[in-house]
Symmetry: C2
Subunit: 211 residues, 2 copies
């Protein structure tokens, strides 16, 4: 599936590969339990290693967090770049924006836990603020063309800054996911809050093109 392949079920021993697996596990565990409650033991278990492997690759749990943030940003931008060409135009404005945001969601698709965790960590931990803001800004900057093209092809134009628009749309999707998760519902359900409110939100921040 990926470059660092397994050979017969046992991953070939390679530093980058174990780092990746540890980071994968960390993104899961941090999302599920939160950074503070997460133990490096659990991260290692989930990755199929012992703590020895971990401390051979990372100095502390904090360092793992930093590395995770870096990688998440890289992954998101990568995913966005790869998706630029797939310009669907057969569907409605709302479903285009919705689909794009769900697919390309920063910090992993549908992974609300990790997203929320990272944002709270950024609020509480000043040293995370800069990388966090940079990552999110980069995402919005790259997503912006999507939104504007989708709007343009519907004959609409933003009446607020594109950045404000994107932040607000993201917030809507986040709260939609959050409330669904808390209520035990499917965050991607067709009748979720995001889908109900997005038309109104888009309507409020756009006008017809010749205005």
């Amino acid at each position: 599936m990926d470059g660092t392949a397994r050979d017969g079920g046992r991953m070939k021993r390679s530093r980058p590969a174990t780092r990746e697996r540890l980071l994968d596990a960390a993104s899961e565990v941090f999302g599920e339990r939160g950074f503070a409650a997460a133990t490096v033991e659990e991260v290692c278990e989930r990755a199929g290693f012992t703590r020895g492997a971990f401390y051979s690759n990372f100095a502390t749990k904090e360092e793992l967090l930093l590395a995770l943030l870096d990688r998440e940003e890289a992954q998101v931008l990568e995913r966005l770049s790869a998706a630029v060409d797939t310009a669907t135009r057969d569907s409605s404005l709302v479903s285009v924006v919705t689909g794009r945001l769900f697919d390309l969601q920063p910090f992993g698709s549908g992974n609300y836990g990790l997203r929320a965790e990272l944002s709270l960590l950024a609020v509480r931990n000043p040293e995370l603020a800069a990388p966090y803001l940079a990552a999110r800004r980069a995402f919005r900057a790259r997503f912006q063309p999507f939104l504007e093209r989708a709007l343009a092809s519907a004959g609409l134009r933003l009446t607020v800054s594109a950045d404000d628009a994107l932040v607000t749309i993201e917030a809507l999707f986040d709260v939609s996911a959050r409330d669904a998760l808390i209520a035990g519902a499917d965050p991607n359900a067709g009748d979720n809050l995001a889908r109900r409110m997005l038309p109104a939100l888009l309507a409020g921040m756009t006008t017809r093109h010749g205005d």
Copy 2:
């Protein structure tokens, strides 16, 4: 200031009073550090007690959390009830809604850390889901008249459900506070995201009354 007064700097010994002070401290510490990273030691220090006092009032840290959630809900509803009559009508729709939400914000005014923490705990901890949802629903149910009266007096009517509207507005205020905090700015600044976007948001989900 309050009923359980100090007598010359030393609080009179009373179980309810210490509970209150512990809960106050907990709301601070949980908001600042997060529930998992918070130690009961720090909560007690902040409240001016030792852990002995704590374990005399609460069995575990989790129980403290439950009690906190209960109290926050009660406080919010109380604050809402007390504010029902102060119906300002000299200011714009936006500033009315804005002011009300800032003043009556559930879970303490401006205390983003605690609000976010509690929501994440509710996502991760199924046993918190029900009380959390109940508290939020109660808040929205009581806040709804505010919004609808404010809109009505501006000649507007919602085109989406009042609940959806309130959830979305709250989400906007939350993300506004969050981003300000991360950026090291004042969440209540006059040019924050919430104030910039609220007009568009309200416009998108209302129509003039005779429509």
